[in-house]
Amino acid sequence: MSAENAIVFSNVSKFYGEVLGVNKINLTIPPGVTSLVGPNGSGKTTLMNVLTGLLQPSKGWVRVHGLSPAEPEEFYPLIGYCTQFDTFPKGLTGYALVHSLVTLHGKGRTDTESITWEAIGKVGLTDAAHRRIAGYSKGMRQRIKLATAIAHRPSVLVLDEPLNGLDPMARTEFIELFQQLAADGLHVVVSSHILHEVDMISDQVVMMSHGYVVAEGEIQGVRSEIDEHPITILVRCDRPTIIASRVFADPNVVEARISDDGRGVIVKTRNVDEFYSLLNAIVLEEALNVEGVATTDEDIHSVYNYLVGPNGQPT
């Protein structure tokens, strides 16, 4: 991946006086959906604000497609940032807000009109466009904020807790929209502390704790690097006791127990590949009827707990 097509943080630190925001961040974010995961105060928003130029790093530098925020005319057409601030200029309608911001991009009058309606349509607010934002529901405010971020067709979309306040149907719509944007080749950088949502959206994750990046990469990749925590696999089959008794022969298996409903076996192993080879052999030899095999702790929540603990404290 070339730096021209990536988001690059080089040794970025940000301090608020004596207080650490983020420290020594070296990160390259490829296209696709990348999630920043961490508890409140872990540095996610600081990292996003530095990325978008709202904050200047105390040390290091950031480049988006090779450009820095110091070149606003070239940099900001690339960036759409949906901040976590639920605030809007007073007295404006949704249409007026998006239209005014598109105007700042220096587009012609006709283009501005069509771009504004396109963005408002994408977030499903066409009918409410001429109503004042002050009268919008929380979900509608999230939508109009997203419209301001995507209106100018950026190639990097930064979303800080974008699903906050949305009802389940809207969450599904938004997640589909993010995935569609990523499929179109956009960088989508999402922060969230709701881990199962991130799990659904992301291609890769950046896990943060106390201002540091503690892990990054594809979720499975990050998970497999945590050697000290065996991976848990649930095998559902007609005779789970046979599997339970035979997998103990594998020195990498540290635990095998029958699931509560008696229809599966839960195995903890330090070597997934070896376990799957063994499982294949057992299934063939014993002619087992396997209903399904799934890892139960490759989701972000488990990975995050392993890395930094449930309260942001390393285990």
Binding site: Y81, P89, K90, T103, L104
Partner: protein
């Protein structure tokens, strides 16, 4: 080739290649956006009341005072000059500018909306210029006509003959235009000062009160110090000077040929400082 020649050769293509058209469109877009926000909000109401106060009183006088007395041009001129210098300049325009200009940036930080601007592909100097022009438009549209109308209404109780003599044959029109011009320069000068304060101070009212103190005590200061103020130059170009009061330090008024460019240069210098500060501004609402 001298260093100066090299510098001028280097600068010229830079100026020529700058996207002036885009910058102009963006400045106008910021000004329109700010004006729209300003009228959608209620920020202008206080300035409207401050600007309309003298006009309201003079209009009331027009209707309620049946006997305005004998017209004596110099007395009326002095009355208006007193009202202009002590209320319109020192109170109405001053506080009108405090209310409008300090909020251009500080208000956005408090309302957590500044990031909408900072995420646009617009140089921060242009954001500042657009906001300043919107603020200037806001206050000038209120104070300049209000001042000129007040001057006009001041003479109306004396009847059409006095009005004709004063405005058509006398100094009425030039004085009225000069008062309007001084009001505009006051808006421009104080506007720049309070715009800067809104960028650098967490509570711009504190430095605003210091400026008010400085401008008010100005007449008691030595002549050199008097010249480091906006009010000194504004007073120098008002058409009717006020008589000196007790304890006032008598200072020669500065010529209009120095006062007007001086004020404009000061305004430009303050705006450049504001732009410099703006370039380094960060959005961290939680710490504000």
């Amino acid at each position: 080739m001298s260093r100066q020649e090299t510098a001028s050769k280097g600068l010229s293509p830079l100026i020529k290649s700058a996207p002036w058209g885009l910058w102009f469109r963006q400045t106008m877009a910021v000004t329109r956006f700010e004006t729209r926000k300003s009228f959608a909000g209620r920020r202008w109401i206080a300035a409207f009341l401050l600007a309309g106060g003298p006009l309201f009183l003079l209009t009331m006088r027009l209707f309620l005072d049946d006997d305005p007395g004998t017209f004596d041009g110099s007395t009326e001129g002095l009355i208006f000059a007193t009202m202009f210098q002590s209320y319109i300049l020192r109170m109405a325009i001053f506080f009108g500018c405090v209310g409008i200009f300090t909020q251009l940036f500080r208000g956005e930080v408090l309302e957590k909306t500044l990031h909408y601007y900072l995420l646009a592909p617009v140089r921060r100097e242009i954001i500042m210029t657009g906001k300043y022009l919107a603020g200037l438009l806001n206050v000038a549209v209120l104070f300049v006509p209000a001042t000129m109308l007040s001057y006009l209404v001041m003479y109306m109780p004396y009847g059409s003959r006095v009005m004709e003599n004063h405005f058509v044959n006398g100094v009425g029109i030039p004085h009225m235009l000069t008062y309007g011009g001084v009001a505009f320069l006051a808006c421009a000068g104080y506007g720049a000062v309070f715009l800067l304060m809104g960028i650098i101070a967490r509570n711009p009212l504190v430095p605003a009160m210091l400026v008010l103190g400085w401008e008010s005590l100005n007449i008691f200061l030595p002549a050199t110090l008097q010249k480091i103020s906006v009010i000194h130059y504004l007073q120098s170009i008002t058409p009717v000077p006020l008589p000196f009061g007790p304890l006032e330090v008598i200072t020669e008024p500065t010529s209009p040929w120095v006062s007007v460019p001086g004020l404009l240069i000061m305004t430009l210098a303050v705006l450049m400082l504001a732009a410099y500060k703006m370039r380094r501004a960060e959005v961290s609402y939680s710490t504000d």
